[in-house]
Amino acid sequence: MMAARNFTTTTTAGLRKAALYLWLAAIALWMVFPFYYAIMSSLETGTAIFAPGLWPQNISFDNYTQLVRRQNIWHNSRRRSAECGPRLGLMFRRRACSVASADVRVSFA
């Protein structure tokens, strides 16, 4: 009798624990999945992005290098500060910037 009671209480405790973990896992999956999928999509190459899947076929960081190289987010911000700098009396920054952005171009070309 006692043993049976113990057994049921431990089972219900176990079930409760399982339900809690299931609930936590569901929340975590729901919250993180879109973010995870965005990162995975960013590692795709070419037309592989059109094949839906949970992870990329080949992992590549091409999109990131392209972002710097073709869209050139760093270069643009530097160029802008180099253009606006002299007006603000920041001649020294202009020289430093042009050198730095030339470096970026060379190293990626």
Partner: protein, 298 residues
């Protein structure tokens, strides 16, 4: 002495008043003035006063103006459905998650970090991610549902009239549930533990101690969160604008106003729509202030 202090206080308040006047009062007044004129991008003549004609007027038994436009009422309906449903779902889910996280559960720190992910992503990026995930041909969600055998071919969740608004509400719930959870979690942490223990000693079950003890204590903080979210949801713009700025089935009031203002160049009518939106939101805010004052005094 007192006069001097008052004078000093007025000087200290002046910068803030000027800032508020420049940032809030001036644009509002200008919109109000514009809404009473027929100013437009595509008319060369000087705008003239038309007073309330942008809102509603009758000519030969036909109604004109924003209030006579069925698309305006459709956007009002969409906005109200969006605001009430998304805030309601966020409240229920946020409450459930916050109650779970308030206990000493395993991996509590990790769960809190996970919760911050959707809230930390800019809405524009959120909209793009979901737009891609819900794509009818290449979207991963349709792919998963197909693999599970729940659907036969991809469903265009965001572009068919029957599911578009529901999908947008789901995205907003995804994005804003963390905010609700953190607000409720903060409120839950001020509930004295001995109150709950006393209720349990008196024989209250979990539901009773929640509704009779916890809820009354956290209610003021939760009410603030609800009102903030409601005001936010009534002004919803970026999410819907990214998903589809010209779909009438999901158009919100602010998307409608933007369309009149910048797509059709009708500054007068667009300003009238903006003022109507402002009136809806400010009525809610005033009602909230009145209610909270009344409950404070009671």
């Amino acid at each position: 002495m007192r006069r001097q202090q008052l004078k000093a206080a007025a000087w200290f308040l002046l910068p803030v008043c000027l800032l508020l006047a420049a940032a809030a009062a001036w644009p509002l007044l200008r919109t109000l003035v514009l809404s009473l004129s027929d100013s437009s991008l595509y008319v060369m003549e000087r705008p003239s006063w038309v007073f309330l004609d942008n809102y509603l007027y009758f000519l030969d038994g036909e109604a004109f103006g924003v209030l006579s436009d069925p698309r305006w009422w459709l956007s009002v309906r969409n906005t109200l459905i969006f605001a009430v449903t998304s805030v309601g779902l966020e409240l229920v889910l946020g409450m459930a998650i916050a109650l779970t996280l308030n206990h000493a559960i395993p991996m509590r720190g990790l769960m809190r970090t996970v919760l911050l992910v959707p809230w930390a992503i800019p809405t524009i990026v959120t909209a793009q991610i979901w737009l891609w995930m819900l794509h009818d041909q290449y979207g991963v969600i349709n792919h998963i549902l197909e693999v599970l055998g729940l659907i036969e071919r991809g469903v265009p969740w965001l572009s068919q009239a029957s599911t578009a608004l529901a999908a947008i509400i789901m995205i907003d719930v995804w994005k804003t549930t963390p905010f609700m959870t953190l607000m409720i979690l903060a409120a839950l942490q001020i509930v004295p533990r001995d109150l709950i223990e006393a209720a349990r000693m008196d024989g209250a079950n979990a539901a009773q101690s929640f509704f009779k003890v916890t809820l009354p204590v956290i209610f003021p903080a939760v009410a603030v969160a609800i009102v903030f979210r409601l005001l936010d949801a009534l002004r919803v713009f970026d999410l819907i604008y990214i998903i589809n700025p010209s779909d009438e089935n999901i158009m919100s009031m602010s998307v409608y106003a933007r369309r009149l203002l910048f797509e059709f160049g009708r500054f007068g009518a667009g300003s009238a729509a903006s003022i109507l939106l402002f009136m809806v939101v400010s009525m809610l805010a005033i009602a909230w202030i009145k209610i909270s004052r009344a409950t404070d005094q009671a």
